[in-house]
């Protein structure tokens, strides 16, 4: 649905986006992740035909953003980071105006607007002037405006910024529901958001793609070795060595009484063996969990280490590089 090839955008001497390539398939929700100033907004602005690329190509629904911008714009719904709203219009008037300029036929206009209003839950402020709305409502009016013409592609720049926790949950649920029917690209620097809503993540830093995968795979790959956290009550002195003797276990750490961290070979699940051993020793098993590297750690790892030293394709899972190089 979206094909981005070697996209580059320079502002004068400054390179905002540097050879970015990625694809988004139909119905997919892609998370676009990166620290502030990484080039997320610029990439999105290119995808929505607001800015032309300096180099490279981007195609949305088969149309080139540079050659056929009108076709692209017809198929894209977009909310920028700060929603672009007219403060002196009320919500209803604003959505009516948007429906008109987005080419929603007159007979469908009422229904489409009602639909968008209902989905984004802004029914209670329909007649309020946008200038008087709170940030959360403005954000949702922006979202309503984006989904109004039922576009094939939705491009959402930080759609949950400024919302309260309840609204964030509702908005995420809405975005999830929109996936499938729509193709969604959403940018954020909030990591849990990505693992919660997105099927795939593109991590971008300093204008370059540093990783691209599903949130689970990213976690898995960067883990190197799988780490299992084990909590027991009543421990024998011999437990640590017994754990170490289980096939597939590489190392056992014992950070504090009752807690063990066990590194296993990659791809090998030792949890069942661990549980059996603890129970066989007559001890109480309190907790047993795969302690994967969280997306947060991956993100920090990818965006704080030197990008140049590490090839952009972090896909071959740099072994055990995970913990050592994190500088933050």
């Amino acid at each position: 649905m979206i094909e981005v090839e070697n996209l580059t955008k320079r502002y004068g001497r400054q390179t905002a986006v540097d050879g970015v390539s990625f694809r988004v398939h139909k119905g997919e929700i892609l998370g676009f992740l990166g620290p502030n100033g990484a080039g997320k907004t610029t990439t999105m602005r290119i995808l929505t035909c607001y800015l032309p690329p300096t180099d490279g190509t981007a195609r949305v629904a088969g149309y080139d953003v540079f050659e056929q911008p009108l076709e692209v714009k017809r198929r894209v719904g977009y909310t920028p980071e700060t929603p672009t709203l007219y403060p002196d219009m009320d919500v209803q008037t604003f959505l009516d105006f948007c429906a008109k300029i987005k080419g929603v036929p007159a007979r469908d206009r009422k229904g489409k607007i009602a639909d968008a209003v209902e989905k984004t839950r802004i029914g209670d402020v329909r007649t309020t002037l946008i200038g008087r709305l709170s940030k959360g409502y403005r954000q949702r009016v922006g979202l309503a405006q984006a989904i109004l013409h039922n576009p094939e592609v939705l491009i959402l720049d930080e759609p949950t910024a400024g919302l309260d926790p309840k609204q964030i949950i509702e908005t995420r649920a809405l975005i999830k529901a929109l996936g499938g029917e729509h193709t969604v690209v959403l940018s954020t620097h909030i990591l849990p958001e990505v693992s919660m809503t997105c099927g795939r993540v593109v991590i971008i830093n300093k204008g370059r793609v540093v990783a691209e995968d599903t949130p689970e795979n990213l976690t898995h790959r960067l883990q190197g070795a799988a780490t299992v956290r084990l909590e027991v009550r009543g421990e024998g002195p011999e437990l640590e060595s017994a754990l170490g003797a289980i096939p597939g276990v590489k190392a056992v750490r014992h950070p504090r009484p009752g807690v063990f961290e066990i590194d296993a070979d990659a791809g090998r699940d030792v949890r069942a063996d661990l549980a059996r051993l603890v129970v066989a020793k007559g001890l109480d098993l309190l907790a047993l969990a795969q302690a994967g590297m969280s997306l947060e750690e991956i993100f920090l790892h990818l965006t704080t280490t030197d990008v140049a030293a590490e090839p952009p394709a972090a896909t071959e899972a740099p072994p055990a590089a995970a913990s050592g190089e994190v500088q933050a």
């Binding site: 035909c49 032309p52 017809r74 672009t84």
Partner: protein, 262 residues
């Protein structure tokens, strides 16, 4: 078809803005007051002169014409008033969209730059036309009370001239508004340039050289004369229309170039 619908949606939006804020009311009010004021002064003078002419021992010269004296006189003055008021109507057209960031909404909607520019131009021109119409109420009195009512044709061409010259002001103001995100800057630039174009006309001197003549012909108000007299002077109409098209063309180039320069 879609182009028309888009343009009309944009015109409607501009009107909502004009009438949702004090802009339209202030502009209409000032315009109507000045129109009425000029009308009052001119008609007083006309009456005094008519009486004097009638009382002179030679039985009065040629009859004073309401068209020449009152209608043309007031419309001429209003062209100058328009020069002062139209920058207020145009300065926000693009500058405000840029400051508010809403230009991004328009730029990412399936609209062409031409549609956006035409929508804004026609929106401002529509308000200006409404201002002219509001002033015309004064002239209706002439038809009602004058013993020899004025001719309607010079009035029609005069109004057309006023509309065209205002269109030029608006097109230039629109272009200025695309250049900046600051309304004051846009307004001041427009105002300065319009004054410049007005002053160019003062160079009009039959004894001057060809170059001076040519420059003088660029003066926006010099082309009003014939139209105000009731002559449908095609060269003047073409001049005004070209000026408008050129102004809108520059605005178009400016809007497009912003996408390039970024």
């Amino acid at each position: 078809m879609t182009a028309l619908r888009n343009i009309s949606a944009l015109v409607e939006k501009e009107w909502r803005h004009y009438f949702g804020s004090p802009i339209a009311y202030v502009a209409l009010c000032i315009w109507a007051l000045l129109f009425g004021g000029f009308y009052f002064l001119v008609i007083n003078r006309f009456i005094v002169y008519s009486l004097r002419a009638g009382a002179s021992e030679f039985g009065g010269g040629p009859k004073l014409s309401l068209n020449d004296w009152v209608i043309s006189g007031v419309l001429h003055n209003m062209a100058v008033v328009a020069l002062f008021i139209t920058p207020m109507l145009t300065m926000r057209l693009f500058a405000e969209e840029k400051r508010q960031g809403t230009i991004e909404l328009l730029a990412t909607a399936p609209l062409t730059s031409t549609q956006i520019i035409l929508g804004k131009f026609l929106g401002a021109l529509g308000l200006y036309a409404l201002m002219i119409v509001s002033g015309l109420v004064n002239f209706a009195l002439l038809w009602h009370y004058a013993t020899v009512p004025p001719e309607w044709k010079p009035l029609a061409t005069g109004v057309l001239a006023l509309l065209l010259v205002g269109g030029c002001f608006i097109a230039l103001g629109l272009f200025m508004s695309t250049l900046t995100r600051n309304q004051i800057v846009a307004g001041t630039l427009t105002f300065g340039l319009l004054l410049g174009f007005w002053i160019l006309g003062w160079m009009d001197d039959p004894s001057a050289g060809a170059v001076t003549q040519f420059i003088a012909r660029l003066g926006l108000l010099t082309h009003l004369e014939d139209l105000m007299k009731g002559v449908v002077a095609l060269p003047d109409v073409v001049f005004y229309l070209s000026f408008i098209v050129f102004g809108l063309f520059l605005a178009h180039q400016s809007v497009e170039s912003q996408r390039w320069r970024a």
